[in-house]
Amino acid sequence: MTLDLDICHRQGSFTLEARIHSEGRLTALFGQSGAGKTTIINAIGGLIRPSQGRIVVNGRVLVDTQSGIFVPKHKRHIGTVFQEGRLFPHLNVRQNLLFGRWFTPRRERVADFSAIVDLLGIGHLLDRNPATLSGGEKQRVAIGRALLTDPQLLLMDEPLASLDEARKSEIYPYIERLRDEGNVPIVLVSHSVTEIARLATSIVILSDGRVTAAGPAEDILRQTNLFPQTGPAETGALIETHVLHHEEAFGLTVLQTRAGTLTVPLLDLAPGAPLRVRLRARDIILSLQPPEGLSALNVLPGKVSSIGEPDGSSVDVMLDCGGDSLVARVTRKSVERLGLRAGLPVHAIIKSIAFDREAVGRAPTEET
């Protein structure tokens, strides 16, 4: 799928000027509240009419203010999952799911009801009333309802923001399956770095109504200066791994990366399962020698690939560990004391409990 968007929208004192081109399977729109993420989603979905601009999805012009084109929302074939679910309270789950079907001509109905119900694990809820569902269940039904309209694009406006951590981890696997098995490209709005690190294949960063960066997830997440609003603590690298084995006696799982093994708290995954892990820059310590007598379990050998611009007392050091790019945040003093420079072999030390639990997610598989 391709999404081309170039719009300008004024709402009171807020001005959005965004230009986005994306071909990713799950494009995340990231930024603080008020950055314009939801405005963009609403413009794509047809809930607002941008003051100026053009929106094209898969070659179909949805909005072009110059030639006066504005396709109304009910003719766009774009599914939207809202933050609050927005299930119809007077209909049960099955009726909610089939709502879009009533308005789809019979020959255009492609989505398989039972396949989607299975994918989202909501088969046991079909006869329930939305008021009796938990937050996570509501969001799964909302996702199913949007998918059953056979959308060409699925918009998700912070679908997890109103859920607690436990409920979020309940939904993540479904979104991952959707990204990898579904044929519907997704645009996801989020203000959580861990969320996009786990889910996104490409990322667009918004700040004050403007796009400040855009590109593939791995590239964007490694750039430390792109997340000023979340603070340097959120900077981190994404690496692809797979489960090697479990050490159940200790409650640990061992992951294989290109540079070596990582030990993390026990995961409920079969050996061999692909996994994407996010290593935060502040959780990585650098050592010139292979460390001995240290409690940290994870040591990855590598070499310094570059040293970033100093930010106050600290500086980000980019590492190449057997082909995986890592980033470590250390003090300027340490850089000088250790004599860190590009090409120097180092050891990256990571505490196993430092793993961002939320960011340990299924790796996107490579088929489209």
């Binding site: 809930l47 009910h74 074939h77 119809f88 007077h90 709502f99 879009g100 009533w102 009796t132």
Partner: protein, 231 residues
């Protein structure tokens, strides 16, 4: 049981029910449309429409009845037109009583529906739009079911108002037994003649029974609707 009420009393009960049900049914669709216009519409004259709809609530009923007589009477501007082209006559007919009752109950109907429209989450209507429903469908399958409790409440209010309407009815269509004599006007007539206390008392009991039954039915319907939302 039939003997319990005299033929005149039966006629009054029968007529009252006919008038009240007709008034309620006839004002339902206009009531929903006006409530929608007032709550959602952005047009010139909305304020004026609001005032006109609410006038029967604040004017003395006799004044409303007199206006009806002037406008909808056989020689009134609207009454003459309706008579000439459609053969509809209001003055001194039961249809006139129904018209008077409908107009007196209209503000109550509109207010109840309007409140429920105000309470509808418009985000649900947006969501329905993204699922492929155009505006008419959104109204029919989302908005209408959601405002059903308000519509039921409005209908009961309109019915109850019609059952009790006195001033506008008697002014507009008088008090003709079998044609325009409803429960309230019949009770009034009984109290004005010697020996009429028995009839007045019996019709009062009938009035109370009908009102309580209407309230009970509306409560039952509202409960059913609520249960559908929550269970």
């Amino acid at each position: 049981m039939i003997d319990w009420l005299s033929p005149q009393e039966w006629m009054a009960v029968h007529l009252s029910l006919k008038v009240a049900l007709t008034a309620m049914a006839a004002s339902l669709v206009p009531g929903i449309v006006v409530a929608l216009l007032l709550e959602r519409g952005r047009f010139w004259g909305r304020q004026a429409l609001d005032v006109i709809v609410h006038l029967p609530l604040v004017l003395p009923p006799v004044v409303v009845g007199y206006f009806l007589l002037l406008w909808f009477g056989k020689r009134g501007p609207i009454g003459a037109l309706l008579n000439e082209y459609f053969g509809i006559v209001f003055s001194f007919r039961w249809t006139g009583a129904a018209l008077a009752c409908a107009i007196m109950g209209f503000p109550l109907l509109v207010r109840a529906i309007r409140l429920s429209i105000e309470a509808v989450d418009r985000k649900l209507e947006d969501a329905a739009g993204t699922l492929g429903a155009n505006r008419v469908w959104v109204f029919l399958v989302v908005t209408l079911p959601l405002i059903l409790p308000g519509i039921i409440a409005g209908m009961v209010l309109s019915f109850a108002k019609a059952m009790g309407e006195f001033g506008a009815t008697i002014t507009f269509v008088s008090n003709i037994p079998g044609e325009t004599q409803t429960l309230p006007t019949a009770i009034y007539t009984f109290t004005q003649v010697p020996g009429g206390e028995g009839g007045a008392l019996r019709l009062t009991v009938v009035s109370i029974v009908i009102s309580v039954a209407a309230l009970w039915v509306s409560e039952w319907m509202a409960r059913r609707v609520r249960r559908r939302f929550l269970a």
